[in-house]
């Protein structure tokens, strides 16, 4: 019955409405809209925001400078974490809240290798690549620990990662026996700064490498498909020969790898570490990035690109707020407002009203058909909440159509299929 109505609706309201719906229904819509909105706000406040200058930094190397570069640069860690967090969210239906603490651990391990037991060594004790590989190993071990708790012992992801969240920074401090080492030399600074001769921040290249890696993995392996299958329905995934334990475990290990890369950038920015404050609260931003990307935090289908865009939206917001001289301890409150808006926007009730409005606009513009006029009236009635009983009935069924249409890609329906 619903399907018939959908068809009737499609015929009735024409291509324009369905196009609009296709656009607004796309997961990339919300993050792109957010970026456009933030860009507009900044444009109104003054176009200097978009100016990018080429300058020489204090080491004499050319470097681009400007707010847009700042957003690309400082959003990098978050974008990388968003990749791993999206997989974890999709596979396990939960989030890893320990990424900040594991960044501290991986970063600390990296410094331990680079500086040895000396707090201020004159030269590097080991090649950077060795230190980075060790950090990757440590990050993946932490991920494996979390993954084992979640996949094998079936502990709720947030509870399981709470252990690492609580103990992580102490472990990080213990690795360097509470010392705060400083990495000597300029080479290590390249990862969080610029490579001589290349004016674009190195972090941008690191993100691009990560994105290419995950894109290849999603395209040429079954990682994406299997992850979604496990997230949507673990039982049926297992019946189809997928090992849910392995998939969940793998998601956490990949996140661990992302954490190690983020740790490299974080530690490189200041050539040192502060166990207590490094990457503080970044886990919440990473989860917010996934949510901003329109991904269901309860798992299942995911859109990697939307999450990555979501990460840059958060950095865009942060940079914008700094520009408007908003106290940095109030940033969290503004992010909370964004979360509230997101939740509201994705709530069925609000969606009903919005889709009603959209219908009203389009039916109004091409109202030359009797049947359509009725629909328009019904939609208008629903939007204004002032329809008669008969119209109300129609509007209810209209809403049912729109809801079912929007949820046609939701995980419940897929599970049924």
């Amino acid at each position: 019955m619903d399907k018939k109505k959908i068809e009737a609706n499609k015929k009735g309201s024409g291509n324009a409405a369905s196009l609009i719906k296709r656009i607004t229904g796309n997961q990339l819509f919300i993050p792109i809209m957010a970026i456009v909105l933030l860009a507009l706000i900044n444009l109104i406040a003054g176009p200097s925001f978009f100016r990018v200058k080429l300058i020489n930094n204090n080491d004499g190397n050319p470097q681009f400078s400007g707010s847009l570069i700042t957003i690309l640069d400082y959003g990098s860690e978050l974008a990388i974490l968003a990749i791993g967090m999206t997989l974890v969210t999709a596979a396990s239906g939960g989030q890893d809240i320990s990424v900040g603490a594991t960044i501290a651990i991986a970063g600390s391990a990296m410094l331990r290798i680079l500086c040895g037991s000396n707090q201020h060594p004159e030269t590097l004790k080991a090649p950077i690549i060795v230190a980075f590989l060790v950090a990757c190993l440590v990050g993946m071990l932490c991920g494996a620990f979390n993954g084992a708790l979640v996949a094998i012992f079936k502990i709720q992801p947030m509870i399981a990662t709470l252990i690492m969240f609580t103990a992580g920074r102490s472990i990080a401090a213990w690795i360097n026996s509470n010392r705060l080492p400083i990495v000597p030399g300029k080479e290590f600074k390249y990862f969080g700064g610029v490579i001589p001769g290349i004016p674009i921040p190195t972090t941008v290249f690191i993100v691009i490498i990560c994105i290419i890696a995950i894109a290849l993995a999603l395209k040429f392996t079954n990682l994406g498909l299997y992850t979604q299958a496990v997230g949507i329905n673990e039982k049926s995934a297992r019946l189809n020969g997928i090992n849910p334990i392995l998939i969940k475990f793998l998601a956490f290990v990949i996140l661990g790898l992302c954490v190690a890369v983020a740790a490299l950038i974080k530690v490189s920015r200041i050539s040192s570490i502060n166990y207590n404050v490094i990457a503080k609260d970044i886990e919440m931003d990473a989860i917010l990035a996934v949510a901003l990307g329109g991904n269901a935090l309860s798992g299942g289908k995911f859109n990697m690109w939307a999450s990555i865009l979501g990460a840059y939206v958060i950095q865009f917001l942060t940079t914008t707020l700094y520009r408007f001289h908003i106290q940095s301890d109030a940033l969290a409150a503004y992010k909370a407002v964004v979360v509230i808006l997101l939740v509201l926007f994705s709530a069925p009730k609000v969606r009903e009203v919005i889709s009603g409005l959209i219908k009203k606009i389009f039916s109004g513009s091409k109202g030359n058909n009797g049947k359509k006029t009725l629909t328009a009236l019904a939609a208008a009635g629903a939007a204004e909440g002032a329809g008669t009983d008969a119209f109300d009935e129609v509007s209810v069924s209209e809403d049912a159509v729109s809801t079912s249409e929007e949820e046609s890609d939701s995980k419940k329906e897929e599970a049924v299929q």
């Binding site: 204090n58 509870i159 920074r169 705060l180």
Partner: protein, 341 residues
């Protein structure tokens, strides 16, 4: 669900305590104190060889180099060789610290040494301590409580630190002062003292202006972003007043990336606090201009106060430690060696 969380938190906490070296020491002290009293012991053990039981509540030693030095100093002083049976507990959160204080009072410590995370909220637990006969000595940080509730407080005068720094800055006779002010965690005594002095000066002088005042919560990365945002906005500034060394370092990283010169005789004056060894080395290299000391070596002061009280003397209520400010133009290598932490 809450129970599970509570259980995990409890077990993690218990685990971390079990892993703590000090609790091992406590067990050992009981066994060894007997043998020690027979053999020669350099410690003047009071009450017929009994150790003085102290509970020490400090901020997390990982918070900063300052805290690491402070904790190391205390750990070195309060040992069984020096006649103390010490337990350490750490937190950056006031509520947790109050919980630790209650535990120590229940465990009947003789002295409670406290470096409070926040100035407020300590009255009732200190009254409990007084009722239980536990003597409280504050170190490093003051609290808003009646002075009768504690024996003594050994503090850095943060207001004076701020004033020393601001006076030094005023002495540089810059034509105008456009300051980026990077604050510590809001509400902490260090932030209030160091911000207060600058705010007062800016309000009083016509050519002093705050370009940006933001808290970076002692965090270098946040400081870097804050300074970067000012650079991006194109606003003019010539002073960075960071309330600790880490944040000054983050700020300098942003300046370096933007190709803005800093240090002695350069475009931007860089000021930090806490006198980390690496920070003083930056001064020596003339990359920074000023670093204010915040003396972390309080253990010897506390030790002498406890000895005074044990001998029946009444100590002074507030003991202010001597603190310096270092100028990059005059700093010497031996200053780095002596005062760097």
């Amino acid at each position: 669900m809450k129970k599970v969380v509570a259980l995990i938190m409890a077990s993690v906490f218990a685990f971390s305590l079990a892993g703590c070296k000090k609790s091992d020491d406590k067990k050992e002290t009981k066994a060894e104190s007997k043998t020690e009293s027979k053999t020669e012991s350099k410690a003047e053990e009071k009450k017929d060889g009994q150790l003085i039981k102290v509970g020490i509540i400090n901020n997390d030693p990982n918070e900063s180099g300052y805290r690491t030095a402070n904790d190391a100093d205390l750990q070195k002083m309060f040992t069984k060789e020096n006649g103390y049976d010490a337990s350490f507990s750490y937190s950056l959160k006031n509520e947790e610290q109050i919980q630790y204080a209650k535990t120590f009072i229940q465990n009947e410590v003789d002295y409670l040494l406290l470096s409070a995370a926040d100035t407020a909220g300590w009255d009732s637990v200190l009254q409990d301590a007084k009722a239980a006969g536990v003597k409280v000595i504050l170190f490093d940080r003051t609290i808003d409580a009646d002075p009768s509730l504690y024996e003594a407080s050994i503090v850095s005068d943060m207001n004076k630190e701020g004033e020393t720094a601001v006076n030094w800055l005023a002495g540089q006779n810059l034509p105008e002062y456009n300051v980026i002010h990077i604050q510590g965690v809001m509400g902490s005594a260090a932030q209030q003292g160091r911000s207060g002095a600058l705010d007062k000066k800016v309000a009083a002088e016509g050519n002093w202006k705050i370009v940006k005042q933001q808290t970076a919560e002692w965090n270098a990365e946040k400081a870097q972003q804050i300074v970067q945002s000012v650079i991006d906005s194109g606003e003019k500034f010539n002073v960075i007043y960071a309330e600790n060394d880490d944040m000054a370092k983050g700020a300098v990283a942003a300046l370096d990336a933007a190709g803005i010169s800093h240090g002695v005789g350069k475009d931007v004056v860089v000021m930090g606090f806490d006198c980390n060894k690496w920070a003083l080395e930056e001064l020596l290299k003339k990359n920074w201009n000023y670093d204010g000391q915040c003396n972390p070596f309080q253990a010897s002061y506390i030790d002498s106060i406890i000895k005074d009280i044990e001998a029946g003397k009444t100590p002074e209520k507030t003991i202010i430690m001597e603190e310096k400010g270092f100028d990059a133009a005059t700093i010497k290598q031996e200053d780095v060696d002596n005062y760097g932490i």
